[in-house]
Symmetry: C2
Subunit: 311 residues, 2 copies
DNA sequence: ATGCATCTTGAAAACGTTATCCCACACACT
DNA sequence: AGTGTGTGGGATAACGTTTTCAAGATGCAT
């Protein structure tokens, strides 16, 4: 009876509605979720590696804004790239009867997420994707973004381009590396493994790997860093050696940063539409709730090379 | 029976526990929360202005880590400093039967929060505080932090120190300004209103107000910016004018930033222990749940002046 | 051996909703 | 006029726990 749209004459509906407002009646969301079967329990789960990563913070805002607009609440969880934590939070979210879960899988064959999908709960993967399994997903064209960045560096005359990658069992990292190789091959340049280092997406590894690359002789004349936190680490290493950007070494980072403009020099980056990714994922999930049998949707958004002065 | 500690012989308890594990039984958190009265519903609410602000992101991690350790889930909400949104989310959280709510009030006399406290639900205010009402709170010694920053600038020889403040109905902003005045008075310097601007804590206002200050003649030789996002805006304005830090103008920001070290020059800041604030607040809330009648606790953590090279 | 007290245990109520079922009533058609 | 049909609305079951209550079992003392 409390649900507005039902087989009730409008008059009665308005009467009830008026009484609800008058008495200040607020339905209890817990009781509602307990009883209500699939669909609109007005709660959705979001599991990200770390809310302190500005990329995921922006993505989370996208999700949350859509949720707010539809009177959904969001339960936010940080997995720290830890499978045990991810599994724990998935169990919590299922136990909380969320309508669906948005998450970037920890690896391309994340068994915990695959099990979750098999359970039938609506899932939308964001940013990263799984090799197997059919689910709605929103991703960014990482390969193309990386290609444009490296292509830009090569056109500026760079030949030895250092690459600081992430874990190779993550789809984004692998695709960005492919984009790097695409660009090198396009310009008939050799892909030299010694200029490619694999990190873990964290700031400390960005710094460590940059120092390794700067030890090489000859050192790279340009650096392409595959995520935001590692870029910060790379800048630290470069400043520590008193190198000048872009005079001694050019830098492009993947992921834009709110403070990229405030750096000296302002940092050239491949900007991912993180907010849009979150927004699209939430909208996809809401659509799936309305129509559980609808076609599986894959969305691929385009990143953009933002030219500033670090090249 | 499922609750471990009860008046049951240990043998039976172990037997039941073993069966639970064997069958993979997971209690439904929704049903549990519906029935269970005050105390341990294993859910807590966190309302912050914006998760994209690194200070609040760090604070949120502190809350979440404590929650995770106690098998609590966290429902995170962004108020955008908007009273309507804050009120909506408070209603949602109450309707979700959270055990308690952690939040920084939007202003010093936030009626929405006061009403919430009156309702009896445990509340812990963080960062900012209310002038009236008795509740657990965790704050930072803003006045002292600001004093140390300005004192440092004066000792370096600065006399015209620009202050970029936030909204004056927020306790943190007011206290930091008092710290600024304390330091000026301590050194017998006049507090000149034209060097003090009030913004809204956002990046754009930091840039705009910095430009205003730089227009003055004589312009300030140093700038003290009262939060992280406005500091980023200030740096943008300074770079746009091709001024050199610290040669042309010195800068100290309130709030540390993960990338402060990577800036050129590295930024001197007043570091707030944001993670600790979140952690302490969550622990305070959990203690309150165990002992609802316990004494109200006020915690004041110390910020730290982190000297880098921007002064 | 019986009575009282304590401890266990199983059954049933409660939490606040939504889903389901069924009856009554009105309308239309035969 | 009788019967079929559709629809509104009220009563009741159900969701999965915890809490409460009562009864049964055990133990100790008289």
């Amino acid at each position: 009876m409390i649900n507005n749209s039902d087989k009730v004459v409008p008059e009665t509906r308005d009467l009830v509605h008026k009484a609800m407002v008058k008495l200040g009646y607020k339905p209890n969301r817990v009781a509602r979720r307990l009883r209500q079967k699939g669909g609109m329990r007005h709660l959705l789960g979001l599991i990200i590696p770390d809310i302190q990563n500005p990329f995921f913070a922006e993505l989370a805002r996208g999700v949350e804004d859509v949720a707010y607009a539809h009177k959904f609440a969001v339960m936010l969880c940080n997995s720290d790239e830890n499978l045990k934590k991810e599994e724990f939070y998935i169990e919590v979210l299922q136990s909380e009867s969320v309508d669906g879960i948005i998450l970037p899988p920890i690896s391309e064959c994340d068994l915990v997420v695959l099990k979750l999908i098999k359970s039938g709960l609506p899932v939308v993967t964001v940013d990263r994707s799984l090799t197997h399994g059919a689910m709605d997903k929103v991703e960014v064209d990482n390969r193309r973004g990386a290609f444009e960045a490296v292509d830009h560096l090569i056109k500026l005359g760079h030949r030895r381009i250092g690459l600081i990658a992430g874990r190779m069992n993550v789809s984004t990292s692998r695709e960005r590396r492919l984009g790097y190789e695409d660009a090198m091959m396009e310009h008939k340049l050799p892909v030299q493994p010694e200029y490619i280092r694999g990190g873990d997406f964290k700031q400390a590894s960005g710094r460590a790997m940059t120092e390794e690359l700067l030890e090489l002789s000859p050192p790279p004349t340009a650096l392409f860093v595959l995520n935001n936190l590692m870029t910060v680490g790379a800048l630290e290493a470069i400043h520590r050696r008193k190198l000048r950007i872009p005079h001694d070494i050019a830098v492009i980072g993947f992921d834009d940063l709110p403070w990229a403009e405030a750096l000296d020099p302002p940092l050239t980056v491949v900007r991912q539409p993180a907010y849009e990714v979150g927004r699209a994922a939430a909208e996809l999930l809401l659509r799936r709730l309305e129509n559980p049998a609808g076609a599986v949707t894959h969305l691929k958004l385009l990143p953009k090379l933002v030219l500033r002065n670090s090249c």
